[in-house]
Amino acid sequence: MWLTPAEWQIVRFTLAVCALSTAIILPLGLAVAWPLARHRWPGKLLVETLVTLPLVLPPVATGLLLLKLFSRRGGLGQFLHEHLGMDVVFTWRAVVAAAAVMSFPLLVRSARVGFQSVNQRLEQIARTLGASNARVFFTITLPLAARGIIAGIVLAFARAVGEFGATIVVAGNIPGKTTTLSLEIFETVQLGHDASAYRLLIVSALIAFGAVWCSEVLMKRSALR
């Protein structure tokens, strides 16, 4: 194959951390999107603003916040180090954290639209048929919101693949340890290794194409069901 072993490792690592970050934010994103879509509650505006913040903050600033939070002297970082012996900053975990935080708003926004699109009348009818709230959620709400949720997953994954600014601050660019596709493309361009940069560019484009293709297929299937 035309990629070098080191480039293959970067591609595998990027796909793995992006898949992991998307999997981590999925339940959390749905748990945030649902009350945002359906209920009015005190503090809703604050949560909406906080959720959207990573979209509008400079990614480097988000990275700096994550660095403070996860460093050994930061609140969460200190807790993880002392109680679980786990370091986050400048490890693969930081790459996952940066990707998760940066892609979270896209997942929430799409899932929220998905939940809003569900006809609540159908949920009421399900309750008259004896369904509990949990059953209504899993058998009616979730399947009917699937298009929005799938779109959110794909957008979040694609955003994670393209993540650069926050990652470089909180995880650095350590070869074989935290280097992702975006970081490697930047690095190869800086060093004038154009051939490698273009190879990785093509891989990035293929991943993006594949993600959008999959989402279209899944959304068509969910629409046909």
């Binding site: 009421q124 008259t128 048929l129 004896g130 369904a131």
Partner: protein
């Protein structure tokens, strides 16, 4: 059947729905013009709307008591609700829609799947896509689904609206025999004289949220 509705008040846009009624007839009609509060009344009984005040009970089972701030959850009311608008779950097949409310632990023979499906003549529809059903087919599936949940009371909210006359008469005939076949009392909302006379034993006239008359349909509406 003994459906008791006491001091029900519900503020709507144009007026307040105010109902006091004890209903005993197994086939009772709520008759009135559009916007009279008929659907709101049914939704209050089903628990889909929260009235400001109300005490509602069915055969001794308390559904709502605003004085005690008590409201029985919708899923425990055992109400078969057939709304006016499309209510089949579009992502489920006809068969899975029908089975949604069935309780596998229940051994209620009266509401067996085959019995309900045969009675409403919907066997050929079982493997159809919900979105390919005509309006009449759709309503028969909704009625069957409500029956299969083994309800204590069937609430039918203008189920035959927008059906052609032939189809309407065919379903009316099935609805007329439905109580005899399954023994479920029904509350039938309509603004159509012929439907009320055909189906109901007793009719309550509802106008601007108030019951203005009550009696046999042939006497009130003919």
């Amino acid at each position: 059947m003994k459906l008791e509705i006491q001091q029900l008040t519900l503020h709507l846009k144009q007026f307040s729905l105010e109902v006091n009624a004890d209903l005993h007839s197994p086939r009772t009609g709520i008759f009135g013009p559009s916007g009279a509060g008929k659907t709101s009344l049914l939704e209050s009984i089903a628990g889909l709307r929260k009235p400001e005040t109300a005490k509602i009970s069915l055969d001794g089972c308390l559904y709502e008591n605003s004085e005690q701030n008590y409201s029985l959850p919708v899923r425990l009311r055992k109400i078969g609700y057939v709304p006016q608008d499309d209510s089949l779950f579009p992502h489920l097949s006809v068969r899975r829609n029908l089975l949604y409310g069935t309780n596998s632990k229940s051994e209620h023979v009266t509401f067996s799947f085959d019995h309900v499906v045969d009675f409403l003549r919907i066997t050929p529809l079982l493997d159809r896509d919900v979105r390919s059903l005509s309006r009449g087919e759709n309503q028969r599936i909704v009625i069957a689904r409500a029956l299969l949940s083994a309800p204590r009371l069937l609430l039918l909210d203008e189920p035959l609206t927008a059906l052609d006359l032939k189809l309407k008469n065919a379903i009316l005939e099935q609805l007329r025999f439905l109580h005899n076949e399954f023994g479920i009392p029904m509350l039938y909302v309509t603004h159509d004289h012929a439907e009320a006379i055909e189906i109901c034993e007793e009719v309550l006239m509802l106008e601007s949220g108030k019951i203005t008359a009550r009696g046999r349909p042939i006497e009130l509406l003919a």
